[in-house]
């Protein structure tokens, strides 16, 4: 297990390094980075300041080296010191990139975790039920409802749900309250985003868990177990379900990774200040250091979740442990 994890982590770091390099060179080779980092309402003084701080008069390789070293040792800008994991300084918001990222992460993480709990429980439950009652009315209803819901979009459902619950005065507008300052307020504030986001995902998980379950029920080990006289329910839950988890864990890992990297549309729809909103704001204000920071940070989270998924396989499927 450990050598495997070590190898995967090393591979992920290589990819992260390449991704950072690629993004850095593309960003800083296209147009004038000073102009682009400065935002839309830019003064000549600001551009001069950025030139001096980013060291744009130096060759681009030196700039990149400074950026990389800065991540590990910190950097000194004329606007102030940037401590150890230094991903740069945003001239549009006048904030350290790393501090802003850490500030936005809890919102995004809460959104992802809560949403995942909802869509995983509902999605798996309905999917299993549909597979258990295959061909019946229940199955057909679940299948067609999930087909329609998975075609809906967050930006369509969002306003409708807001109309039903918020504009009518039933619930308060979604907002992020820190978990430590009250779990109840935290949950109440994020309830609507969770439900809307989960609706789209739930439909996909219903469809997927149903189809993998139906596939598993035709496998030989399931047939053998049935032939040995085990009860239908036992075989269903202990034999077939375990096998059907592998593809679901794969997709879940990918979904969680991208959700932790910022659920852009959900955050934008409900005005939550998470990583996704940060990315959009920095793109619309052309805040280059911040965009670079968000992109690297989110990619790192996705790679991290990929490793977690691979490690989880080993727990679910003993055959994986050998290889």
């Amino acid at each position: 297990m450990l050598p495997f994890l070590f190898r995967r982590t090393l591979g992920a770091l290589v990819i992260l390094f390449l991704l950072t390099t690629f993004t850095f060179f593309v960003f800083f080779a296209a147009g004038d980075p000073a102009q682009m980092s400065c935002g839309k309402n830019c003064t000549a003084d600001n551009i001069a300041l950025i030139h001096q701080n980013l060291g744009l008069d130096k060759p681009i390789t030196t700039q990149y080296w400074d950026f990389l070293v800065g991540i590990f040792t910190g950097r000194n800008f004329s606007v102030g010191h940037c401590p150890a994991p230094c991903f740069g300084y945003s001239f549009a918001t006048k904030q350290q990139v790393w501090a802003t990222l850490l500030d936005r992460l809890p919102t995004t993480a809460s959104l992802a975790i809560g949403g995942a709990v909802v869509f995983l429980t509902v999605g798996l439950a309905t999917g299993l039920l549909a597979a258990w009652k295959r061909g019946t009315f229940v199955d057909k209803t679940f299948t067609s409802v999930s087909m329609v819901l998975s075609s809906a979009q967050i930006y369509i459902l969002g306003p409708i749900v807001m109309g039903i619950f918020v504009y009518s005065g039933l619930l308060e507008s979604p907002r992020y309250v820190d978990f430590t300052s009250g779990p109840a307020a935290w949950g109440a504030g994020l309830l609507i985003p969770w439900l809307v986001m989960a609706t789209i995902f739930t439909a996909q998980y219903t469809r997927m868990s149903r189809s993998t379950m139906v596939e598993q029920l035709q496998e030989e080990h399931v047939r053998t177990a049935k032939a040995k006289g085990m009860s239908g329910r036992y075989v269903f839950l202990r034999y077939a379900w375990r096998g059907s988890l592998i593809p679901i864990v794969t997709i879940l890992g990918m979904d969680l990774g991208s959700l932790f990297g910022g659920a852009m549309i959900t955050e934008y729809t409900f005005q939550l200040a998470g990583l996704g909103r940060l990315a959009i704001t920095s793109v619309t204000t052309l805040d280059l250091p911040m965009i670079l920071g968000v992109l690297i940070f989110s990619s790192a989270l996705i790679l991290l979740f990929n490793i977690i998924v691979d490690a989880t396989y080993a727990f679910i499927d003993p055959r994986v442990r050998l290889s």
Partner: protein, 356 residues
């Protein structure tokens, strides 16, 4: 060596072209007909190509045919938007609200019931600006579908070429192409679309200047294309990798077919199915991605009508004018739903074993 090979291949290419592959009803009689993988026997029996079999099966699937018609209607609406505008007598950009003071109230919301729906404005009036919602939607669909179709075509083309190249050539080429695919797959796609939009735009227009619409359209296409092709490539690479070792390919190679001929006549017909199925799943994804980008305010800008940006407006106006969301929303759900159902039908028609 290579010269001789390709010359012989050219000779082989000409003779079976009338008899071979999938389109004729009578089986190929030429000597090259024997080297075909899907060669058919049976003198009097009417031979059917896989394409024809697929078509017969597809025609029997009522859901699939219905969905195909709906999608065709969407494509027609997009293509014929100017004609519709002419017949309907209105366009997407005129501010009807400021021409006729009775249409909007003092807060800028439609005065009529149901968002101002009437005989002259079928889908109502847009709040604030007072444009015609029906025309906005028709032209919005035109913009979104135009971009998505372009992205899909480019993606499928790139994915096919790279996938087949990697799978067929194998070895070092395969290794490096696969590493490129792995690398690009590591990018968080949606976030990268958003992040790279200003960079790609900056390649065409210096920052600070007004960006023309065609540059934004082009940038949207480039950004989605650059990160869209890897899935199909990886899939085709795997398939070609195993097809390459099959007897009919070996037979073609021994009879002296050129590499180009083997790829075009032996391998390509065998991977048409995944290409078609994947592209029917891909197109709605690109439509929603494009709409998502415009919704987030980084795609198509005013005054160009766009499907996704209508949702941005709809969310803003929803509290006071919920009807505005109705038509773009319903159209989007129907479109995506039909495409997903069509994708399933196409898959079933090509591969009857994959029962649901």
């Amino acid at each position: 060596m290579f010269q001789e090979n390709s010359a012989r291949g050219h000779f082989a290419m000409t003779s079976p072209s009338q008899t071979a592959v999938s389109k004729t009803d009578t089986p190929g009689l030429g000597p090259d007909g024997l080297s075909k993988g899907k060669d058919r026997k049976g003198g009097e029996l009417v031979g059917r190509s896989p394409g024809q079999l697929m078509w017969t099966r597809f025609k029997r699937d009522r859901t699939g045919v219905f969905c195909a018609c709906v999608i065709l209607a969407f494509l027609l609406i997009a293509a014929l938007a100017p004609v519709i505008s002419m017949l309907y007598g209105k366009d997407a950009t005129t501010l009807y609200g400021s021409n006729d003071a009775n249409l909007l109230d003092e807060f800028g919301y439609p005065t009529g019931p149901n968002g101002g729906m009437s005989g002259s404005h079928w889908f109502g009036i847009e709040p604030q600006l007072g444009r015609d919602v029906f025309m906005q939607l028709v032209y919005g669909i035109r913009t979104s579908l135009g971009i998505s179709v372009a992205v899909t075509l480019l993606t499928v083309l790139t994915g096919t070429v790279i996938g087949i190249t990697a799978g067929y050539l194998g070895g070092r080429t395969d290794f490096w192409l696969s590493r490129v695919i792995d690398f690009l797959l590591a990018f968080p796609s949606q976030l990268t679309f958003v992040a790279f939009m200003p960079v790609v735009v900056a390649l065409f227009v210096p920052p600070g200047e007004e960006t023309p619409t065609y540059v934004r359209v082009l940038s949207l296409i480039i950004v989605q294309w650059a990160l869209g092709w890897m899935g199909l490539s990886r899939l085709l690479r795997g398939q070609v990798l195993s097809l390459r070792e099959r007897e009919f390919v070996e037979a073609a190679r021994i009879t002296g077919a050129s590499q180009w001929r083997i790829i075009r006549k032996e391998l390509l017909p065998n991977v048409v199915t995944p290409i078609l199925v994947q592209s029917t799943y891909m197109l709605p994804l690109f439509v929603t991605a494009e709409a998502g980008l415009s919704y987030l305010g980084v795609g198509i800008m005013e005054p160009t009508p766009d499907w996704g940006r209508m949702f941005q407006n709809a969310a803003r106006y929803y509290e006071n004018d919920p009807t505005y969301l109705l038509f773009p929303g319903a159209a989007m759900v129907i479109f995506v739903l039909c495409f997903n159902l069509l994708g399933d039908s196409v898959r079933d028609a090509f591969d009857p074993k994959s029962g649901r």
